[in-house]
Symmetry: D3
Subunit: 205 residues, 6 copies
């Protein structure tokens, strides 16, 4: 068995690359609206950094605002799904799509919101191995099937969610969050978006 050495300090040429490159595309930052400037400021203040996905969209203020509006409604607005539920969907979907950016950023959110660091790892690695409530398992089964084989979703799949206690409005929210990360995973993969390195150490317990 290999004895784990204490981690050496990450070198400048880490496999994840440094924090100054956001994507593989050469796009110049545009002038942000006041609203977006305030939003970036709030991120900096609350999180200590601006998530790279926001910097990636910042080449075009209209696109940035549309992304932020949809993201914040989906992940933070009132819903029958808790914030943790939504982050778990985000990570389980991103695991199917093997999206580095989203797995790092939202894996950290699952660890933080749950206070259960292995839960974040389980969502990244294989949600089927987690000890979940029937409700959460049904939610993730639907989100993952919708990601991998959307053409096979039928009334019986919606009924499985209803039997697990979800309302029709909840089903919409599960679909919308799963759908959103199927979009974000692809924008991130298409552009080689790199997560802020600070996520790696967050909420490791």
């Amino acid at each position: 068995m290999t004895k784990p050495a204490a981690a050496k300090p990450a070198s400048a040429s880490s496999a994840a690359a440094d924090d100054t490159v956001i994507t593989a595309l050469a796009l110049k930052p545009s002038r942000l609206s006041g609203t977006m400037e305030d939003y970036f400021g709030k991120c900096q203040e609350k999180l200590g950094f601006v998530p790279n996905v926001l910097k990636a969209y910042a080449f075009d203020n209209v696109k940035l605002e549309a992304f932020v509006a949809m993201y914040n409604d989906l992940m933070l607005a009132a819903s029958g799904l808790s914030k943790l539920d939504r982050e778990m969907i985000a990570v389980a979907v991103s695991s199917v799509n093997r999206c580095y950016y989203c797995l790092v950023a939202h894996g950290a959110a699952v660890r933080a919101l749950s206070g259960d660091p292995p839960l974040g790892e389980l969502m990244v690695m294989n949600y089927r191995a987690a000890r979940l409530s029937k409700r959460q398992r049904a939610m993730l089964d639907f989100a993952v099937k919708l990601t991998a084989e959307p053409w096979t979703i039928e009334e019986r799949d919606r009924d499985a969610l209803r039997r697990a206690g979800f309302t029709d409005r909840d089903i919409w929210d599960i679909a919308a969050v799963a759908g959103f990360f199927n979009m974000s995973n692809r924008v991130a993969s298409a552009t080689d978006m790199r997560p802020n390195s600070v996520y790696h150490g967050q909420a490791r317990g």
Copy 2:
């Protein structure tokens, strides 16, 4: 060989169901904002109908506005991609995901924008069988690979787009449109969203 009879008038119990059911979810329409009411009015005036996807989102005005803002920016704003380019991506992506709603609605758009009805069918059925410019073929190859196996996209794929004449900004737009329909396909499939029947006969040439 079967002689095609003239099509009989579609019965009330068509396989596509009638136009009064929008999705399989029981969600009540909410009160729309003035902006959205005006937008629905403009759709009715210009298209002769309100696309069902808008009615589906109308149970929550915030979600509707976020969807409309993102959609209109992606599909209609200035871009190195023509509107037809973007609709072709929409259909080729929806073909991978076998999304009935998006194939019907955006297949009609390809037929109309191109003035070449078989082009719409080709995007629905198999884009590889179409006679396309190298530029359009490269664009669709990227969008389809990003849809089917997003984890395999690498610098060589972006370089293939650059060699076909696309700028880095164009690459973002290809990714964003392909990503968006990967989201919409899943929301539509998850909710069994039904396209307005009027699309079927549009621009058949």
Copy 3:
């Protein structure tokens, strides 16, 4: 939302190519037998054209006769399956295999025989989204599974057909039609067979 313009007349260099090219193979037409000449004449008279698949096989009269004999028996002879049933299988199978020729030609047949144009689209796009009888759904589930994963068909699959009201003879016919289009799809895809352009506008309702 994009306003659909009236379709412009298809240009000579349509994405589907013109009607003079049948396949990508340089094969000279052979001398047809009297029976086949008569058959081509009957097609011209009844349909107004000779289906391109027949022209494609016409480089060898023996192969043409064998194809016609098998095709006409399968699709037109007495059977517990209606002609529409058989055309629906043809299109659902061709959808799995994404065969442009067969989807265009047999999608038109489904529209014509059913008098329900959206049904043709549903078979092309995703048969699971159609409102079908249990009998038709069982039939297509079997045909599609047989197409995608023939090695997994077992007695339980045949029993599902029997429970849906099919006789053993009907099961043979479902298998034979599904099998036939798995052959035709591959001959068409291997040779880039192009459908007669007239199919596109047929029975659009």
Copy 4:
């Protein structure tokens, strides 16, 4: 290492079942035409048995004649492909589809025609592991791709065959044989067709 015992005589309840059951479908033999009676007689005389696939089709003389006509033209008529080439395609295609009937019957034919028993096993197990000429390898690569992903075949695939020395007529024959076994594999799997047990011991060298 296990010492192989001499094979014990196969019991009446072998895993392959006995030779009296042809398929899982209860279909009564119909009256055969004189031509087909003669053909069955010729099989009995030359091979020592009537292949079960013929007995399976014998419930309907028209279907039997159509099958025999197509089969004999494809596998035995003059062609740029040798009979062994065609049997190798048959087995490589049947391997993708994991068709027990066709692998047993045509595996035996490859062993017999080649005089190289391991070649039959290689076609059944993994044609990529065989030592083949570039010509045969190109032929099988095309047939297997056409079987597994027919929608991806394009001009570059046909050109690879041309570069390997095949004419356009040969390409048709490769496609037609591969297509035919994609049909037969599915009819056999759908009906649980059982091969004559005599094939197992043939041409084992």
Copy 5:
């Protein structure tokens, strides 16, 4: 129908290559330990040959001993699984992975141990087509699912084995044998390992 000729004697340039090449890697045999020399001698005596997999590992005596120790324990030690059960798992797993070496060597073992030559072919070609006891079918279903989609194995899969009469210890053995051949299949495929030609004719009945 093709008349099978008597198999001609295999030429020196058989598609399976001759018996002097073991793998595609240029690795020199190392000095074997006395234990391994004895073991090779015992193979020669009992089987008439040393299986090529042993010769392949013989470049490093430590690796050879580790392989032999694990192999002999798994396949020959006391277990709730018979030796035939274990060989059937070996072949069904190797069929999923299309491993030429293991299918040839262990297909021969199934033929020999069962005294039912077609059973060996069924394991190679498609175990679902075999007439098996419920116990053996459950065992192979588990092994094949574990091979193809290990991430989907859950308690319900283990319970299916328990219901079929297997103890938890038996489940371990099924998993360990299936796992072992997933390893061996890959070592064999990675190195193009060739089976001893003598296997082809063994126990053909």
Copy 6:
């Protein structure tokens, strides 16, 4: 954007379950040999714990010794591959197979040996997103292809490794390590093996 709270202490009913359950199988520990007792003692002393995989095998001392012998030779013996190379293969293979146990345990090893915590995450999530040397990339491409589609490995794949600087002996080692984790992943998934919780916090940097 969600503000990550400090992780709350993991509750007793964590999604990963507690550390007293090793697998889902009820297997009693057997009496260990002196060698194995010493080995467990050395693990406890050096690592602070006995890895659960060893406890899982401890129901049978012969199996445990065979596993330990093979594991230690593969991962620790002299090789052209560094220990980090071998751990990177372990994790990239386990990512294809989505094996929770191996991803947790060997992900920690990659973090520790590299001193680059994000490298561990990259191997778990998508090795293609890592900044790797050409040599390491070629090594992982081979290991991952061998895992996902072992039947497609051919001489050209081995040549790609040779061009990247690997000897034939190194190719064996890459194959053997990749093969070993294809075995271990399946034993772990089949038995629901749970990693020691201590791994989660190791070498997070």
